[in-house]
């Protein structure tokens, strides 16, 4: 059983925004909503890094935990989807999501907050696969056509990878080995820095745990 995941290689992303454009075009995403966006750290400074961010389809999704009407569900492939007919547009998921994935279209005279919209991993929604109703609410259902999300497939530098978590992790791992970066590019040291460089030390395990 596949576990669909995205991974973005910050060493390769060139901030072309091709993934953003492809997503909007493929899914007819309305104005004011970007299901995917490119974030650049240290923009304009030599050595800047960019990363393409959207819903990460978390295994323990905070949006699912906080939704008061329980509109989220997870498919067998590990894709986190939601039902727009149940969503009340409260925005709790937006506050809970660490990636800012949930988006709200501003429509109406007073900028009313509509139903939440987010990346579907190109897997549509609860309507019948490939139906017009599904397309109008959620966009294309590429998974049921045997395709991967367009953002990943269109990425020119292959910085953005999408698919079964095992496969995309293997691809990224092989790149790391080729770059001669070694095992230090994985894990705590990479994410939070090394203690010698003044980073926050690893938290101690609570007492009583082995």
């Amino acid at each position: 059983m596949a576990r669909m995941k995205f991974i973005c290689d910050a060493e390769r992303c060139i901030e072309c925004n091709g993934c953003v454009t492809a997503c909007k075009a493929e899914n007819h995403v309305p104005w004011g909503v970007n299901r995917r966006r490119v974030v650049t750290l240290n923009d304009g400074v030599p050595g800047e890094k960019s990363i393409s961010v959207a819903c990460m389809h978390c295994s323990d999704a905070p949006c699912m935990a906080v939704c008061p009407v329980d509109c989220f569900y997870r498919t067998d492939d590990g894709v986190v989807l939601h039902d727009k007919d149940v969503c009340i547009g409260c925005g709790y998921c937006s506050y809970a999501c660490p990636f800012g994935a949930p988006q709200f279209p501003s429509n109406g005279t007073f900028g009313l907050r509509g139903k939440m919209d987010k990346c579907t991993f190109c897997a549509g929604g609860p309507e019948d696969n490939g139906s017009q109703a599904e397309f109008e609410k959620y966009g294309r259902n590429r998974l049921s056509e045997g395709k991967l999300p367009l953002c990943a497939e269109v990425c020119s530098t292959k910085a953005l990878l999408g698919g079964d978590g095992d496969v995309v992790a293997d691809i990224f791992r092989s790149r790391v080995v080729v770059r001669n970066s070694g095992s230090e590019v994985w894990g705590w040291g990479t994410a939070y820095g090394k203690p010698a460089s003044g980073a926050t030390p690893k938290p101690a395990k609570p007492e009583g745990t082995k």
Binding site: A2, F72, L81, P126, E134, K147, L148, G163, V167, V168
Partner: protein
């Protein structure tokens, strides 16, 4: 049996029967039913070849191959 015993028994029975009136406390009565699994298709003009619609293992294998196609190092040899 004394009157107090009867009273205690009646209270106990009333307490037990009270649980029968418990209402379901689920958040919502409706659980969202997702659409059919991706491997179930349907076959359309947009469906790519290389897998059999309705066959889960075929879809799994096809998606793995398709994901692996993102690895250009396999196609052009190892390079940076």
């Amino acid at each position: 049996m004394s009157r107090s015993c009867w009273a205690v028994t009646l209270c106990a029975v009333a307490g037990m029967l009270g649980a029968c009136g418990e209402r379901p406390q689920e958040l919502t009565g409706r659980k969202i039913q997702g659409s059919a699994a991706s491997w179930q298709g349907p076959a359309t003009s947009f469906t790519v070849s290389g897998w059999k619609v309705g066959d889960e293992s075929s879809w799994d294998a096809h998606m793995r191959v398709r994901a692996q196609a993102q690895n250009e190092q396999v196609r052009v040899g190892a390079s940076r």
